[in-house]
């Protein structure tokens, strides 16, 4: 039991790490990774939704009729998305402003619905939570790493919380602003994907 739990948890961290391994949920990855902070914020929000929607879907999996399965999943996911949205407004307003429309859009993130459909609706609650947590942390890690690359190259800083850089190259650093612009997001992610492909998949 513990072993399978660990397996479901760790697969999201590497083998099925979204979005690098499963190329899904790219919109927030591209849009909000201007800084590490944004990346982590988005990742945590998504993880929250993933874990709770997985839990609930798994608990209700025997009650929900197959035909309205997707509709029910969507309602559950949307509920948690709205909760996250309200909570962020209340307690992390600056981050909420930066992430903007992408918080409500977690509801259409293929990863979330995909996990509900492919995993939680077929497995028990504890494993489903482990799966959601693993995938969510994997997602957060990808967002944070892309955010780190973009922020470091594009601004010479690394920011974890409230816009205060924990690391800065100082004023002499001439940043590669390209990385902060829209094209930089695409090119940065493309090249990171390339580096991931170089590492053999186990």
């Amino acid at each position: 039991m513990a072993q399978s739990l660990a397996k479901e948890f760790t697969k999201g961290l590497w083998a099925e790490m979204p979005p690098f391994r499963l190329v899904l949920g790219l919109c927030p990855v591209l849009a909000v990774t201007k800084s590490v902070e944004n990346g982590i914020g988005m990742g945590v929000a998504t993880t929250f939704v993933l874990v709770f929607s997985n839990l609930l879907v798994s608990l209700l999996r025997n009650i929900i009729p197959a035909k309205v399965r997707i509709a029910c999943f969507i309602v559950i996911i949307a509920t948690f998305v709205t909760i996250v949205e309200l909570m962020m407004q209340a307690y992390a307003y600056q981050l909420f402003l930066k992430l903007g429309i992408f918080i409500p859009l977690i509801v259409v993130n293929c990863i979330v619905l995909g996990r509900s459909e492919a995993f939680a609706s077929k497995n028990g609650p504890i494993v489903s939570v482990a799966d959601g947590l693993g995938i969510g942390i994997g997602f957060t890690m990808s967002l944070a790493s892309l955010g780190a690359v973009r922020e470091f190259l594009g601004n010479g800083t690394l920011t974890i919380w409230e816009g205060l850089p924990v690391f800065s190259m100082g004023p002499d650093f001439i940043p590669f602003r390209f990385m902060l612009e829209a094209p930089g997001a695409f090119v940065g992610l493309g090249l990171m994907l390339f580096l991931m492909n170089l590492i053999p998949q186990k």
């Binding site: 190329v23 899904l24 949920g25 790219l26 919109c27 927030p28 591209l30 849009a31 997707i70 509709a71 969507i74 309602v75 949307a78 509920t79 998305v81 709205t82 949205e85 309200l86 429309i101 409500p104 859009l105 509801v107 259409v108 993130n109 293929c110 619905l113 612009e181 829209a182 094209p183 930089g184 997001a185 695409f186 090119v187 940065g188 992610l189 493309g190 090249l191 994907l193 390339f194 492909n197 170089l198």
Partner: protein
């Protein structure tokens, strides 16, 4: 009138939904390998997005705002879009089979296309009037189709080239998309 025109131009080119707003990336990368699928997806999005834009605008203004339950926006919008897609699919299957044959396989994908949901939310956030919302929905969808089709044209050629193995497929697709986003910066400042 000219304001609406400017709005349309800005939604198609400058604030292009795919290249500047980063919405709808999954179909952007998923259906751009062949020109035919790109055209199909583009048309399906135009079709659904305009309808979704209209309906969600009405729902928001006459239902959510009137009842002061704006916090239900996400839930209601996603339900509206999901059922709309279902309905459109059923309707097309029965009434216009020719169109269904062309768009059919793309319709289910649209539910999780965040471009649709995203545009509906933008319409509300930007406080567009009804006409503006319709124009914006249409123009965003056209921008989506345009970028998708242009991308597919380039991608067909790129995929035939001798792209190094680890870069193939999504990786080179993203780099190409990045350069496309760069070229769309040409339109900056034009409105």
């Amino acid at each position: 009138m000219s304001d609406l025109f400017v709005l349309a131009i800005s939604c198609i080119f400058i604030n292009n939904i795919l290249l500047a707003q980063f919405l709808g990336q999954c179909p952007f990368l998923g259906t751009s390998k062949k020109m035919e699928t790109a055209v199909g997806m583009g048309m399906a999005v135009i079709f659904v997005l305009v309808m979704a834009g209209i309906i969600t605008w009405i729902v928001d203004v006459y239902l959510l705002k009137a009842l002061n339950v704006e916090y239900l926006r996400t839930v209601s919008f996603i339900l509206v879009i999901a059922s709309l897609v279902q309905f459109v699919e059923m309707f097309l299957k029965k009434s216009i089979p020719a169109l269904y044959a062309g768009l059919g396989i793309f319709l289910p994908l649209i539910t999780t296309n965040c471009a649709v949901m995203g545009v509906c939310l933008i319409n509300i956030k930007e406080e567009y009037s009804f006409l503006q919302a319709v124009i914006a929905s249409f123009a965003y969808a056209v921008g989506f189709a345009l970028a998708l089709i242009l991308f597919a044209g380039v991608r067909e050629r790129v995929d035939l080239g001798r792209v190094p193995k680890p870069l193939q497929d999504t990786s080179i697709g993203l780099v190409t998309a990045g350069i496309i986003a760069l070229t769309f910066m040409s339109f900056k400042g034009m409105v």
